[in-house]
Symmetry: C2
Amino acid sequence: MARHAGVSMGTVSNVLNHPAKVSEQTIARVRDAIDTLGFVRDANASSLAAGGSRSIGLVVINLGNSMFVDVARGAQTAAHTAGLNLLLAGSEDSFAVQGANVDSFNEARVQGLLLAPLQDSSSQTRRMTQRGRPVVIVNYDASSDPVCCVVVDNEQVGYLAAKHLLDSGCERIAFLGGEDEKFQPVRLRRRGVRRAMAEAGRPVAFEEIAVDELTDAAGARAADAVAARSPGMRPDGVVAVTDTVAVGFIERALDLGIDVPGQIAVMGCDRNTSAPDCRVPLSSVAMQGYEMGTAAMRLLLDEIAHTPNHVHQRVVLAPSLVVRASTAGFRGGAADSHGTASEDDSSEVVNAG
Amino acid sequence: MARHAGVSMGTVSNVLNHPAKVSEQTIARVRDAIDTLGFVRDANASSLAAGGSRSIGLVVINLGNSMFVDVARGAQTAAHTAGLNLLLAGSEDSFAVQGANVDSFNEARVQGLLLAPLQDSSSQTRRMTQRGRPVVIVNYDASSDPVCCVVVDNEQVGYLAAKHLLDSGCERIAFLGGEDEKFQPVRLRRRGVRRAMAEAGRPVAFEEIAVDELTDAAGARAADAVAARSPGMRPDGVVAVTDTVAVGFIERALDLGIDVPGQIAVMGCDRNTSAPDCRVPLSSVAMQGYEMGTAAMRLLLDEIAHTPNHVHQRVVLAPSLVVRASTAGFRGGAADSHGTASEDDSSEVVNAG
DNA sequence: CTGAAAGCGCTTACAG
DNA sequence: CTGAAAGCGCTTACAG
């Protein structure tokens, strides 16, 4: 390769990495040789010699959820802007697989890691941070750990969902939430729902209906419980803690002859386009995956550049309401009092500001 | 590290890579040292010294389509079974990005590549195959090139979709397909639809309605055209070439007062859970992403192991019908003549066998 | 079963 | 601006 161009391999390396140090003629000669020989640089040797790779790792809990694909898109864009490569891995909802992914990127000597976990993962990230490779946590509040994180305001998610039902004229609201407090977003969304209730400014009935897991089956069981009551005792607005639970509720409610949104308006909470199909397009609250990805990469690059003078921060993004048919046709529906903007799928989006 | 365990680094390497060659005592001592020192092997140095990485690359055209996430899952499973690592990248529907991903894996010295493209990509894969790294093409028929490929039988996709409408009692069938022949699946699905028509065994009207792009907007325009006719001149069964086109058609049809499936039964063709929301859950034909992933990895590993005595093959997987509400309630509906099996979402699946 | 040594393909100061 | 040389952290025959 180097001899084919009549130069040393040090010069070839400079053409590839520091072209400003090489004369134009030499660059042209080397590039010719690269093309004719089909030379492809060995990134392993390169990283080894340079003392580190030009890559950032991104590990998300599940690529089956479209929000995390959005995160990857955002991170990818920001990484390329910085001239870095993005390595991507999904964890299939498994903490163990996530750990293997983190280790794999650690072995690959990534410059830093973006991690979207379901639970506290400090035991896994320590393996990176100990070696001076910064970690930024995405979509999980890890602010008790010494790391940066970027999240969507889940309290605001619950608030927007409940507020929208109140604005639509609902008088008896139910929150379908998990029984336990382990799952961080459940706790926060419930709190937001309660805040909206407290601010309602008029008497509104409120209840919680426990779902024992975050599945459509659990949502369906909640619908069974509601349908068993006399119609006057049923809620007329439901906030389900996830879209999947909401879909389960709606489908079963329809099967049981309850009109959605005519008799009960239903909100999801995480705008999950991977949720099961639903006969009634679901109003929900969008989680801003792309923006989480870009923001997280920005934090990570800052930490890489300014270690050890870096101050950890927590970035909280505002979620936005997405209004579709599962609430738009509620029979008591007063118009939403917010300003609205059309999306290209002709649903309405209200930014949380 | 090695000195902390009191052994040479050659022995450490053997503990990690060939533990059978090391005594149990030494292994224990080395593992202790690894744990206490938090040692993490440098995969770059490892690949360089070993003359190749332990990784396979997978490049898919877009991770936003859930089918490709399924492909990744299948490939991942098969790779881990073989003790290999799976590197994953999405191309955002861009041929240029795809090329960058291929180059990146080429530089990483992967053992082989799985590529799910939208078009002929031999110009990009040549960069890998020239260097002795096998490539398997996924979800695209590249059998004119010297590579293995694994596809779903797209002719059968069209056939199953049309056959299901015929079995449901439709008498006037329309195919919503692309105008041009550039997009391989369009051509094949159309052919399958025509075969089903030819086999109908009774007089059935057939027409094609051209859509100029594979979007929901194009589907909506097709619905406009249909609605403009007198009701007696409309099709009563529609096969849309993709789910996204089908959703656009259905939503507009409903807006225009046409009942789906009451007046028109509608089939999609690629079971795309990333398609826009639809008021009527969509019958479609599932594309077997996971199985494509495992099959492709199997072909690739065979080629890696048996080069140059490897014979390229094309694996064709059978698609399967997924019946949901957009056809199930057609007013003329005779029962489907096939045996059926319940899915956990209580839709019906008929395997193409 | 273990160690010493060569070498993988690059990058990076350092001379010139 | 260019080349020669050392070295990155491993793996792999090869001796012992």
